[in-house]
């Protein structure tokens, strides 16, 4: 399998503060990759840098094309969907309107409505609530909505920013099960950023560990999960 996303020498800044210090990361097409690390290590910044939401230098290539200096909306057009931290629900709109917004860059109206039905099949709870204001959904339901909305883009690569945040363990298991299914059946390549290392390592094939803006460890997810030294020193479980 070929490399889909290649990040090299990535340095990102919030004003004067540097958050990433020469980060290197690559994602194979068709795989699930996870980026693990503690609070403030630079996980969210990495995702935001890919979508050009933060000032960065270095190189980010998606299928050989450079993403540096492109606007966020044109990066989305390449088929890169971003599920933002905290779900990013459009709270005053209905569930269905949220899903339609996920497809706002698409013009194939018929396929959009059939994709909405497909999302309802993945997440039956969203169908039950499709006319309800999205802000009234529970945390887990909003996270499912965020994933479904990102899929409405028909992405080739999906970037998930801490999907497990604030969710009950059982709901997280469900969600990760669906992510695996999306990865296998819809051939969506996935990068999932997580603090919940245990679960992310079960889902992913490849893992990267980030600390203070640098990758300190990378490799096969199972090997990293089985290596007690790494687990204790970096992942804290």
């Amino acid at each position: 399998m070929s490399t889909m996303l290649a990040i090299k020498e990535l340095r990102s800044y919030y004003g004067q503060v540097q958050a990433l210090h020469g980060l290197e990361l690559s994602i194979r097409e068709g795989a699930v990759t996870t980026l693990l690390g503690a609070n403030g290590a630079g996980k969210t910044t990495t995702i935001r840098a890919v979508c050009n939401m933060v000032r960065s230098t270095g190189s980010i290539e998606f299928e050989g094309k450079s993403l540096m200096g492109r606007s966020t909306e044109s990066i989305v057009q390449y088929g890169i969907a971003h599920v933002p931290q905290g779900r990013g629900t459009f709270t005053t709109m209905t569930v269905e309107e949220n899903l339609q917004l996920g497809a706002i860059t698409r013009k194939d109206t018929k396929a959009i409505s059939s994709d909405i039905e497909k999302m309802y099949a993945y997440f039956p709870v969203l169908k039950q609530r499709h006319t309800q204001q999205a802000g009234t959904l529970s945390g887990g339901e909003q996270q499912m909505l965020a994933v479904a909305r990102a899929l409405m883009l028909r992405p080739r690569l999906m970037l998930l920013d801490e999907p497990s945040f604030g969710l009950a363990p059982l709901i997280v298991r469900d969600l990760f099960g669906i992510l695996k299914k999306i990865n296998l059946e819809d051939k969506v390549t996935i990068l999932v950023v997580e603090q919940n290392a245990q679960l992310a390592l079960e889902l992913a094939e490849t893992a990267f560990v980030i600390e203070t803006g640098r990758i300190v460890m990378s490799g096969n997810a199972k090997e990293i999960a089985n290596n007690e030294d790494i687990r204790k020193s970096y992942l804290g479980y």
Partner: protein, 347 residues
Amino acid sequence: MTTAHETAPAATASKKAAAAAAPSMNIARVASLITLALLLLVPLFLKNFYIFQMTQWLIYAIALLALNILTGGSGQFSLGQSAFYAVGAYTAAVMMEILGVNYALTLPVAGLICFVFGFLFGLPALRLSGVYLALATFALAVAMPQVLKLHFFESWTGGVQGLVIIKPDPPEFLKTIGLKVSQDMWLYYFTLVVGIGIYIASVNLLASRSGRAMMAIRDNQIAASAMGIDVPLYKTLAFGISAGITGVAGALGAIAVAFVAPDSYTIQLAIALFLGMVIGGVGWLPGSLAGAAFIVFVPNIAESISKGLSGAIFGIILIVIIFLVPHGARQVAYMAQHLIGKIGKSS
């Protein structure tokens, strides 16, 4: 992902939703038809002065609609609407009195000029949000009357004196078919037609792809850009559209009052519009009529209660309304709808 053609369940689902929403839809439809009928018929039985006040009311409603699109639609605040209103008013005045253009033609020009002005102002405003944006627009509102007084523009604007406009007469064909229509009545119906046109266009705008993009930005800017929405474009577009509609309202205002002067368009007007939006219910377009009624008629009511303390009485009325129905006319409409629904069920 693969495309399975499963549109049938979608269709039935939306039908069900429509059936469930039908009673409330009917109430809303009946209410809007009654409102429309009243707007059409009431002026026929009124004296010219009251017709003039109703025209003022409609004009403010249009200006409020514009603010609702900006704040309710895209989540941006503005205390500078009076500046756009002033530009629209002066555009109409200068075109009619100095260039001799027909009054009806001044509206699209005023709209266009204000759209460009609003769009350009929206560009620097992109870096600001919330209360900071409100402050920047406040500065615009404060500066506008002074700019209009500048000696440099005096040959066009009439400086401090302003410009007197000749009120347009009703078209000749009304006389030939035997209808006697006063200037005020003609202007009322002219404003009503323009207002209905703008209302329909605004409803369609908010329901369109662009409208959804604006509302997504209002709800969550980061998520909106992650969906591929061009956030700067839609934010400035919202500013431009809002300013454009406000400009049309300003032009209508100038024609109706038959006079423009810098001090008619001070920050007080901008604050009145902001107030009207809150009273009508932020983001609820029909509320514009209620909000405009408040800013046109309540000061008169306050004055009829006490000449010396009219300001204080206005304040008390305002506080009572905000306290009882913080979401304004929108809340009253929902409560009424709920009540009628209940009565309908029990009978």
